[in-house]
Protein backbone atom coordinates (compact mmCIF):
# COMPACT_ATOMS: atom_id res chain seq x y z
CA UNK A 1 0.00 0.00 0.00
CA UNK A 2 1.42 3.34 -0.98
CA UNK A 3 1.23 6.24 1.37
CA UNK A 4 -0.69 9.14 -0.06
CA UNK A 5 -0.42 12.66 1.16
CA UNK A 6 -3.56 14.35 2.44
CA UNK A 7 -3.47 16.65 -0.59
CA UNK A 8 -3.39 13.67 -2.95
CA UNK A 9 -6.35 12.07 -1.23
CA UNK A 10 -8.39 15.26 -1.44
CA UNK A 11 -7.38 15.95 -5.04
CA UNK A 12 -8.36 12.46 -6.16
CA UNK A 13 -11.65 12.28 -4.30
CA UNK A 14 -14.61 12.57 -6.67
CA UNK A 15 -16.25 15.16 -4.44
CA UNK A 16 -13.36 17.57 -4.96
CA UNK A 17 -12.71 16.71 -8.59
CA UNK A 18 -11.38 19.68 -10.54
CA UNK A 19 -10.91 21.87 -7.49
CA UNK A 20 -8.28 24.59 -7.77
CA UNK A 21 -4.91 23.62 -6.33
CA UNK A 22 -4.87 26.44 -3.74
CA UNK A 23 -8.19 25.21 -2.35
CA UNK A 24 -6.83 21.67 -2.14
CA UNK A 25 -4.04 23.03 0.02
CA UNK A 26 -6.54 25.01 2.04
CA UNK A 27 -8.65 21.89 2.68
CA UNK A 28 -5.65 19.77 3.50
CA UNK A 29 -4.83 22.26 6.22
CA UNK A 30 -8.13 21.48 7.95
CA UNK A 31 -8.03 17.70 7.40
CA UNK A 32 -7.06 14.71 9.46
CA UNK A 33 -7.19 10.93 9.14
CA UNK A 34 -9.76 9.17 11.30
CA UNK A 35 -10.95 5.59 11.81
CA UNK A 36 -14.04 4.16 13.43
CA UNK A 37 -14.58 0.61 14.61
CA UNK A 38 -17.67 -1.35 13.71
CA UNK A 39 -20.57 -0.14 15.84
CA UNK A 40 -18.88 3.10 16.83
CA UNK A 41 -20.92 6.30 16.55
CA UNK A 42 -19.33 8.96 14.38
CA UNK A 43 -21.82 11.59 15.54
CA UNK A 44 -25.18 11.70 17.23
CA UNK A 45 -28.35 13.65 16.59
CA UNK A 46 -28.26 17.05 18.27
CA UNK A 47 -24.50 17.04 18.70
CA UNK A 48 -22.31 19.90 17.47
CA UNK A 49 -21.70 19.56 13.76
CA UNK A 50 -18.03 20.44 13.82
CA UNK A 51 -16.78 18.11 11.06
CA UNK A 52 -17.58 16.42 7.84
CA UNK A 53 -16.07 13.25 6.44
CA UNK A 54 -14.85 11.81 3.18
CA UNK A 55 -15.22 8.06 3.52
CA UNK A 56 -12.17 6.16 2.26
CA UNK A 57 -13.34 2.66 3.12
CA UNK A 58 -15.98 0.92 5.20
CA UNK A 59 -19.66 1.56 5.63
CA UNK A 60 -21.58 4.13 7.63
CA UNK A 61 -25.27 4.19 8.46
CA UNK A 62 -27.32 7.31 8.91
CA UNK A 63 -29.88 6.54 11.56
CA UNK A 64 -32.63 7.99 13.62
CA UNK A 65 -33.65 6.59 16.96
CA UNK A 66 -37.20 5.91 17.96
CA UNK A 67 -38.10 4.53 21.39
CA UNK A 68 -40.44 1.87 19.96
CA UNK A 69 -38.38 0.80 16.96
CA UNK A 70 -34.85 1.44 18.07
CA UNK A 71 -32.37 2.76 15.54
CA UNK A 72 -33.84 3.01 12.05
CA UNK A 73 -31.33 3.09 9.24
CA UNK A 74 -32.28 5.72 6.68
CA UNK A 75 -29.35 5.34 4.38
CA UNK A 76 -25.93 3.79 4.23
CA UNK A 77 -22.82 5.45 2.84
CA UNK A 78 -19.61 3.88 1.69
CA UNK A 79 -16.33 4.41 -0.10
CA UNK A 80 -16.21 7.73 -1.92
CA UNK A 81 -19.27 9.18 -0.21
CA UNK A 82 -19.41 12.43 1.76
CA UNK A 83 -20.82 12.25 5.27
CA UNK A 84 -22.42 15.27 6.94
CA UNK A 85 -23.54 18.68 5.81
CA UNK A 86 -25.10 20.11 8.98
CA UNK A 87 -21.77 21.85 9.69
CA UNK A 88 -22.51 24.28 6.85
CA UNK A 89 -25.78 25.66 8.16
CA UNK A 90 -26.71 27.17 11.52
CA UNK A 91 -27.31 26.07 14.18
CA UNK A 92 -24.57 23.58 13.25
CA UNK A 93 -26.22 20.58 14.93
CA UNK A 94 -26.41 17.01 13.57
CA UNK A 95 -29.90 15.97 12.44
CA UNK A 96 -29.24 12.24 12.51
CA UNK A 97 -26.94 9.68 14.06
CA UNK A 98 -24.03 8.30 12.04
CA UNK A 99 -22.53 4.97 12.97
CA UNK A 100 -19.79 2.86 11.46
CA UNK A 101 -21.26 -0.50 10.43
CA UNK A 102 -17.81 -1.92 9.84
CA UNK A 103 -14.27 -0.68 10.25
CA UNK A 104 -14.38 2.68 8.51
CA UNK A 105 -11.53 4.95 7.50
CA UNK A 106 -12.20 8.54 6.57
CA UNK A 107 -10.77 12.02 6.24
CA UNK A 108 -12.30 14.40 8.75
CA UNK A 109 -12.47 18.05 7.79
CA UNK A 110 -12.66 20.56 10.58
CA UNK A 111 -15.82 22.62 10.24
CA UNK A 112 -14.83 25.72 12.21
CA UNK A 113 -11.61 25.99 10.29
CA UNK A 114 -13.49 25.65 6.99
CA UNK A 115 -16.31 28.02 7.91
CA UNK A 116 -13.72 30.66 8.75
CA UNK A 117 -11.94 30.14 5.46
CA UNK A 118 -15.24 30.31 3.60
CA UNK A 119 -16.01 33.68 5.15
CA UNK A 120 -12.55 34.99 4.31
CA UNK A 121 -12.54 33.66 0.75
CA UNK A 122 -16.08 33.93 -0.66
CA UNK A 123 -15.03 32.25 -3.88
CA UNK A 124 -13.88 29.22 -1.93
CA UNK A 125 -17.12 29.32 0.05
CA UNK A 126 -19.17 29.37 -3.14
CA UNK A 127 -17.16 26.48 -4.59
CA UNK A 128 -17.74 24.39 -1.50
CA UNK A 129 -21.43 25.29 -1.32
CA UNK A 130 -21.94 24.29 -4.95
CA UNK A 131 -20.44 20.90 -4.30
CA UNK A 132 -22.39 20.35 -1.11
CA UNK A 133 -25.67 21.40 -2.67
CA UNK A 134 -25.12 18.62 -5.26
CA UNK A 135 -24.83 16.11 -2.45
CA UNK A 136 -27.87 17.52 -0.72
CA UNK A 137 -29.93 17.34 -3.91
CA UNK A 138 -28.89 13.74 -4.49
CA UNK A 139 -29.81 12.77 -0.96
CA UNK A 140 -33.14 14.57 -1.23
CA UNK A 141 -33.94 12.85 -4.52
CA UNK A 142 -33.10 9.41 -3.27
CA UNK A 143 -35.05 10.06 -0.07
CA UNK A 144 -38.08 10.99 -2.15
CA UNK A 145 -37.67 7.88 -4.23
CA UNK A 146 -37.45 5.83 -1.05
CA UNK A 147 -40.71 7.39 0.14
CA UNK A 148 -42.42 6.37 -3.10
CA UNK A 149 -41.99 2.73 -2.20
CA UNK A 150 -41.72 1.92 -5.92
CA UNK A 151 -41.43 -1.82 -5.44
CA UNK A 152 -44.55 -2.04 -3.32
CA UNK A 153 -47.94 -2.66 -4.86
CA UNK A 154 -50.96 -0.46 -4.59
CA UNK A 155 -53.11 -3.60 -4.80
CA UNK A 156 -56.03 -1.89 -6.44
CA UNK A 157 -57.26 -5.08 -8.08
Amino acid sequence: MSVQSMEDIIREHSFFKGLQERYVKLLAGCASNVRFNAGEYIFKEGGRADKFYLIKSGKVSIEIYSPERGSIIIQTLGEGDVLGWSWLYPPYRWHFDARALELTRAIALDAECLRRKCEEDKEFGYELLKRFSQIIIQRLQSARLQLLDVYGHASRE
Binding site: S14, K59, S61, I72, I73, I74, Q75, T76, G78, E79, G80, D81, L101, Q138, Q141, S142, L145, Q146, L148, D149, V150, Y151, G152, H153, S155, E157
Partner: protein, 283 residues
Protein backbone atom coordinates in the same frame (compact mmCIF):
# COMPACT_ATOMS: atom_id res chain seq x y z
CA UNK B 1 -75.08 -21.32 -44.19
CA UNK B 2 -72.85 -22.19 -47.07
CA UNK B 3 -70.35 -24.99 -47.10
CA UNK B 4 -67.66 -24.68 -44.49
CA UNK B 5 -64.03 -25.26 -45.15
CA UNK B 6 -62.46 -27.91 -43.03
CA UNK B 7 -61.78 -26.66 -39.56
CA UNK B 8 -58.19 -25.47 -39.28
CA UNK B 9 -56.22 -25.94 -36.07
CA UNK B 10 -54.81 -22.88 -34.32
CA UNK B 11 -51.11 -22.49 -34.57
CA UNK B 12 -48.99 -23.01 -31.49
CA UNK B 13 -48.79 -19.27 -30.99
CA UNK B 14 -52.45 -19.09 -29.92
CA UNK B 15 -52.73 -22.42 -28.14
CA UNK B 16 -51.19 -23.14 -24.72
CA UNK B 17 -49.10 -26.24 -24.17
CA UNK B 18 -49.69 -28.16 -20.95
CA UNK B 19 -46.88 -27.97 -18.38
CA UNK B 20 -46.64 -29.71 -15.02
CA UNK B 21 -45.39 -27.76 -12.02
CA UNK B 22 -42.45 -29.73 -10.61
CA UNK B 23 -41.31 -27.35 -7.89
CA UNK B 24 -42.60 -24.28 -6.08
CA UNK B 25 -40.29 -22.11 -4.00
CA UNK B 26 -41.48 -19.21 -1.92
CA UNK B 27 -39.29 -16.17 -2.54
CA UNK B 28 -41.08 -13.54 -0.47
CA UNK B 29 -44.44 -13.03 1.19
CA UNK B 30 -46.27 -12.88 -2.14
CA UNK B 31 -43.75 -14.06 -4.72
CA UNK B 32 -43.04 -17.61 -5.80
CA UNK B 33 -40.71 -19.31 -8.25
CA UNK B 34 -42.28 -22.16 -10.18
CA UNK B 35 -40.46 -24.82 -12.09
CA UNK B 36 -42.41 -26.53 -14.82
CA UNK B 37 -41.84 -29.34 -17.24
CA UNK B 38 -43.74 -29.97 -20.46
CA UNK B 39 -46.39 -32.70 -20.06
CA UNK B 40 -45.49 -34.14 -23.41
CA UNK B 41 -41.73 -33.79 -22.99
CA UNK B 42 -39.51 -31.61 -25.11
CA UNK B 43 -37.68 -28.37 -24.50
CA UNK B 44 -38.45 -24.68 -24.59
CA UNK B 45 -35.47 -22.78 -25.84
CA UNK B 46 -35.48 -19.10 -25.03
CA UNK B 47 -33.35 -16.00 -25.07
CA UNK B 48 -32.74 -14.26 -21.72
CA UNK B 49 -35.27 -11.40 -21.46
CA UNK B 50 -38.12 -13.21 -23.23
CA UNK B 51 -41.47 -14.03 -21.66
CA UNK B 52 -44.20 -16.65 -21.79
CA UNK B 53 -47.96 -16.38 -21.53
CA UNK B 54 -49.00 -18.50 -18.56
CA UNK B 55 -52.54 -19.84 -18.53
CA UNK B 56 -54.52 -21.11 -15.56
CA UNK B 57 -57.48 -23.30 -16.41
CA UNK B 58 -60.76 -21.45 -15.93
CA UNK B 59 -59.07 -18.21 -14.84
CA UNK B 60 -57.02 -16.63 -17.60
CA UNK B 61 -53.61 -15.87 -18.97
CA UNK B 62 -50.83 -13.37 -18.18
CA UNK B 63 -47.36 -12.56 -19.51
CA UNK B 64 -44.53 -13.62 -17.18
CA UNK B 65 -40.86 -13.22 -17.95
CA UNK B 66 -38.68 -16.31 -17.98
CA UNK B 67 -36.28 -16.64 -15.04
CA UNK B 68 -34.67 -19.96 -15.81
CA UNK B 69 -31.25 -20.87 -17.09
CA UNK B 70 -31.06 -20.62 -20.89
CA UNK B 71 -28.91 -23.75 -21.07
CA UNK B 72 -31.57 -25.77 -19.26
CA UNK B 73 -34.48 -25.58 -21.72
CA UNK B 74 -36.20 -28.67 -20.34
CA UNK B 75 -37.12 -26.83 -17.15
CA UNK B 76 -39.19 -23.69 -17.37
CA UNK B 77 -38.74 -21.29 -14.48
CA UNK B 78 -41.00 -18.33 -13.69
CA UNK B 79 -41.00 -16.01 -10.72
CA UNK B 80 -44.51 -14.74 -10.14
CA UNK B 81 -45.84 -12.14 -7.73
CA UNK B 82 -49.43 -12.61 -6.66
CA UNK B 83 -50.96 -9.24 -7.46
CA UNK B 84 -54.02 -10.03 -9.58
CA UNK B 85 -56.58 -12.75 -10.15
CA UNK B 86 -54.47 -14.74 -12.58
CA UNK B 87 -51.15 -14.35 -10.78
CA UNK B 88 -52.84 -15.33 -7.50
CA UNK B 89 -54.16 -18.44 -9.23
CA UNK B 90 -50.73 -19.25 -10.69
CA UNK B 91 -49.04 -18.95 -7.32
CA UNK B 92 -51.66 -21.23 -5.74
CA UNK B 93 -50.85 -24.11 -8.07
CA UNK B 94 -49.16 -26.92 -6.16
CA UNK B 95 -46.52 -29.38 -7.26
CA UNK B 96 -48.04 -31.70 -9.84
CA UNK B 97 -50.54 -29.09 -10.96
CA UNK B 98 -50.94 -28.01 -14.55
CA UNK B 99 -50.45 -24.67 -16.26
CA UNK B 100 -50.67 -23.74 -19.91
CA UNK B 101 -47.72 -22.06 -21.61
CA UNK B 102 -47.48 -20.10 -24.84
CA UNK B 103 -44.16 -18.71 -25.90
CA UNK B 104 -41.44 -17.71 -25.67
CA UNK B 105 -42.15 -14.27 -27.07
CA UNK B 106 -40.36 -10.96 -27.46
CA UNK B 107 -36.86 -9.59 -27.64
CA UNK B 108 -33.96 -10.51 -25.37
CA UNK B 109 -31.10 -8.75 -23.62
CA UNK B 110 -28.22 -7.82 -25.98
CA UNK B 111 -25.81 -10.43 -24.63
CA UNK B 112 -24.09 -10.99 -27.95
CA UNK B 113 -23.66 -7.28 -28.59
CA UNK B 114 -22.31 -6.75 -25.08
CA UNK B 115 -19.40 -9.16 -25.55
CA UNK B 116 -16.12 -7.39 -24.94
CA UNK B 117 -17.85 -4.71 -22.90
CA UNK B 118 -18.18 -4.16 -19.18
CA UNK B 119 -21.74 -5.02 -18.19
CA UNK B 120 -23.78 -3.29 -15.50
CA UNK B 121 -26.99 -4.98 -14.45
CA UNK B 122 -29.40 -2.81 -12.47
CA UNK B 123 -32.45 -4.58 -11.07
CA UNK B 124 -35.23 -3.25 -8.89
CA UNK B 125 -37.68 -5.46 -7.00
CA UNK B 126 -39.22 -8.13 -9.21
CA UNK B 127 -37.09 -6.72 -12.05
CA UNK B 128 -34.40 -9.21 -11.07
CA UNK B 129 -36.56 -12.03 -12.43
CA UNK B 130 -36.17 -11.26 -16.18
CA UNK B 131 -32.50 -10.40 -15.61
CA UNK B 132 -31.64 -13.68 -13.91
CA UNK B 133 -31.19 -15.64 -17.18
CA UNK B 134 -28.95 -12.84 -18.47
CA UNK B 135 -26.86 -12.91 -15.28
CA UNK B 136 -26.51 -16.70 -15.54
CA UNK B 137 -25.36 -16.28 -19.11
CA UNK B 138 -22.81 -13.61 -18.11
CA UNK B 139 -21.46 -15.83 -15.34
CA UNK B 140 -21.26 -18.90 -17.53
CA UNK B 141 -19.46 -16.99 -20.29
CA UNK B 142 -17.55 -14.74 -17.96
CA UNK B 143 -14.45 -14.58 -20.21
CA UNK B 144 -16.41 -12.95 -23.02
CA UNK B 145 -17.14 -9.84 -20.98
CA UNK B 146 -15.16 -7.16 -19.22
CA UNK B 147 -16.07 -6.27 -15.67
CA UNK B 148 -19.53 -7.34 -14.54
CA UNK B 149 -21.39 -5.38 -11.88
CA UNK B 150 -24.83 -6.25 -10.55
CA UNK B 151 -26.81 -3.73 -8.54
CA UNK B 152 -30.00 -4.95 -6.94
CA UNK B 153 -32.48 -2.84 -5.02
CA UNK B 154 -35.38 -4.26 -3.05
CA UNK B 155 -38.00 -2.80 -0.77
CA UNK B 156 -36.82 -4.56 2.38
CA UNK B 157 -34.50 -7.51 3.04
CA UNK B 158 -37.64 -9.65 3.18
CA UNK B 159 -38.57 -8.66 -0.39
CA UNK B 160 -35.38 -9.87 -2.02
CA UNK B 161 -35.56 -12.61 -4.65
CA UNK B 162 -33.11 -15.50 -5.02
CA UNK B 163 -31.41 -14.84 -1.67
CA UNK B 164 -29.24 -17.96 -1.66
CA UNK B 165 -28.17 -17.34 -5.21
CA UNK B 166 -27.32 -13.73 -4.41
CA UNK B 167 -25.04 -15.02 -1.65
CA UNK B 168 -23.29 -17.30 -4.13
CA UNK B 169 -22.90 -14.49 -6.61
CA UNK B 170 -21.56 -12.20 -3.95
CA UNK B 171 -18.92 -14.79 -3.05
CA UNK B 172 -17.54 -14.76 -6.58
CA UNK B 173 -14.46 -12.68 -7.18
CA UNK B 174 -15.12 -12.11 -10.86
CA UNK B 175 -18.26 -9.98 -10.40
CA UNK B 176 -19.28 -7.09 -8.19
CA UNK B 177 -22.66 -7.58 -6.60
CA UNK B 178 -24.15 -4.78 -4.55
CA UNK B 179 -27.51 -5.08 -2.92
CA UNK B 180 -29.48 -2.33 -1.26
CA UNK B 181 -32.87 -2.00 0.39
CA UNK B 182 -35.15 1.01 0.64
CA UNK B 183 -36.11 0.14 4.19
CA UNK B 184 -33.87 -1.79 6.55
CA UNK B 185 -35.54 -4.32 8.80
CA UNK B 186 -34.31 -6.83 11.32
CA UNK B 187 -30.60 -7.32 11.46
CA UNK B 188 -29.91 -6.06 7.96
CA UNK B 189 -26.23 -5.23 7.70
CA UNK B 190 -26.18 -4.23 4.05
CA UNK B 191 -26.78 -1.02 2.15
CA UNK B 192 -29.82 1.15 2.76
CA UNK B 193 -30.99 3.55 0.08
CA UNK B 194 -32.45 3.37 -3.40
CA UNK B 195 -30.55 1.39 -6.01
CA UNK B 196 -29.56 4.52 -7.93
CA UNK B 197 -27.29 5.57 -5.04
CA UNK B 198 -25.01 2.64 -5.91
CA UNK B 199 -24.42 3.83 -9.47
CA UNK B 200 -21.85 6.59 -8.82
CA UNK B 201 -19.63 4.06 -7.05
CA UNK B 202 -19.51 1.62 -9.99
CA UNK B 203 -16.01 0.47 -10.86
CA UNK B 204 -16.32 0.17 -14.61
CA UNK B 205 -14.78 1.45 -17.78
CA UNK B 206 -17.54 3.89 -18.64
CA UNK B 207 -16.85 4.31 -22.37
CA UNK B 208 -16.95 0.52 -22.67
CA UNK B 209 -20.03 -0.33 -20.71
CA UNK B 210 -23.44 -1.76 -21.56
CA UNK B 211 -26.21 -1.45 -18.98
CA UNK B 212 -29.21 -3.78 -18.57
CA UNK B 213 -31.99 -2.31 -16.45
CA UNK B 214 -35.26 -3.74 -15.20
CA UNK B 215 -37.64 -2.64 -12.50
CA UNK B 216 -40.61 -0.34 -11.96
CA UNK B 217 -40.76 2.47 -14.53
CA UNK B 218 -39.90 5.20 -12.01
CA UNK B 219 -36.86 3.25 -10.90
CA UNK B 220 -35.79 2.78 -14.54
CA UNK B 221 -36.19 6.49 -15.30
CA UNK B 222 -33.97 7.47 -12.37
CA UNK B 223 -31.50 4.71 -13.16
CA UNK B 224 -31.12 5.86 -16.76
CA UNK B 225 -30.52 9.43 -15.55
CA UNK B 226 -27.87 8.27 -13.10
CA UNK B 227 -26.18 6.07 -15.73
CA UNK B 228 -26.19 9.04 -18.11
CA UNK B 229 -24.59 11.18 -15.41
CA UNK B 230 -21.84 8.61 -15.13
CA UNK B 231 -21.30 8.91 -18.89
CA UNK B 232 -23.13 5.88 -20.28
CA UNK B 233 -25.13 7.02 -23.33
CA UNK B 234 -28.74 5.97 -24.03
CA UNK B 235 -27.52 3.84 -26.92
CA UNK B 236 -25.82 1.48 -24.49
CA UNK B 237 -28.66 1.25 -21.98
CA UNK B 238 -31.32 -1.44 -22.37
CA UNK B 239 -34.54 -1.56 -20.40
CA UNK B 240 -37.36 -4.08 -20.18
CA UNK B 241 -40.90 -2.73 -20.43
CA UNK B 242 -44.21 -3.95 -19.14
CA UNK B 243 -47.72 -3.30 -20.48
CA UNK B 244 -51.09 -5.02 -20.61
CA UNK B 245 -50.85 -7.97 -23.00
CA UNK B 246 -53.48 -10.39 -24.25
CA UNK B 247 -52.08 -12.13 -27.30
CA UNK B 248 -48.27 -11.67 -27.15
CA UNK B 249 -48.04 -11.77 -30.96
CA UNK B 250 -48.99 -8.22 -31.98
CA UNK B 251 -52.67 -8.82 -32.74
CA UNK B 252 -54.53 -7.57 -29.68
CA UNK B 253 -53.11 -4.04 -29.62
CA UNK B 254 -53.01 -3.75 -25.84
CA UNK B 255 -49.28 -3.42 -25.31
CA UNK B 256 -48.69 -0.54 -27.72
CA UNK B 257 -46.15 2.01 -26.59
CA UNK B 258 -46.01 4.68 -29.25
CA UNK B 259 -45.14 2.80 -32.43
CA UNK B 260 -43.84 -0.22 -30.52
CA UNK B 261 -45.65 -3.37 -29.60
CA UNK B 262 -44.03 -4.32 -26.30
CA UNK B 263 -44.81 -8.01 -26.93
CA UNK B 264 -43.24 -8.15 -30.36
CA UNK B 265 -40.68 -5.34 -30.54
CA UNK B 266 -39.84 -5.57 -26.82
CA UNK B 267 -40.00 -6.17 -23.94
CA UNK B 268 -36.28 -5.31 -24.05
CA UNK B 269 -35.58 -2.03 -25.82
CA UNK B 270 -32.48 0.01 -26.38
CA UNK B 271 -33.31 3.11 -24.42
CA UNK B 272 -32.74 5.65 -27.19
CA UNK B 273 -35.30 3.82 -29.34
CA UNK B 274 -38.17 4.40 -26.91
CA UNK B 275 -36.90 7.53 -25.18
CA UNK B 276 -39.26 9.95 -27.00
CA UNK B 277 -42.28 8.02 -25.73
CA UNK B 278 -40.81 7.23 -22.32
CA UNK B 279 -40.98 10.94 -21.62
CA UNK B 280 -44.65 11.37 -22.55
CA UNK B 281 -47.24 10.54 -19.95
CA UNK B 282 -50.02 8.04 -20.54
CA UNK B 283 -48.63 6.84 -23.86
Amino acid sequence: MAMLQESEPLEGTLLPEPFIVSKVRRETRDTFTLEMEPLNGGEKHFTPGQFNMIYVYGVGEVPISISGDPVEPSILKHTVRAVGTVTRAITSVKRGGMLGVRGPFGSGWPLKEAEGYDVVVVAGGLGLAPLRPAILHLLRNRERYGRVAILYGARTPMDMLYKKELERWRARFDIDLDVTVDHATGGWKGNVGVVTTLIPGLKIDVPNTVALVCGPEIMMRFTVRELNKLGIPDERIYISMERNMKCAVGFCGHCQFGPQFICRDGPVFRYDVIRPFFQVREV
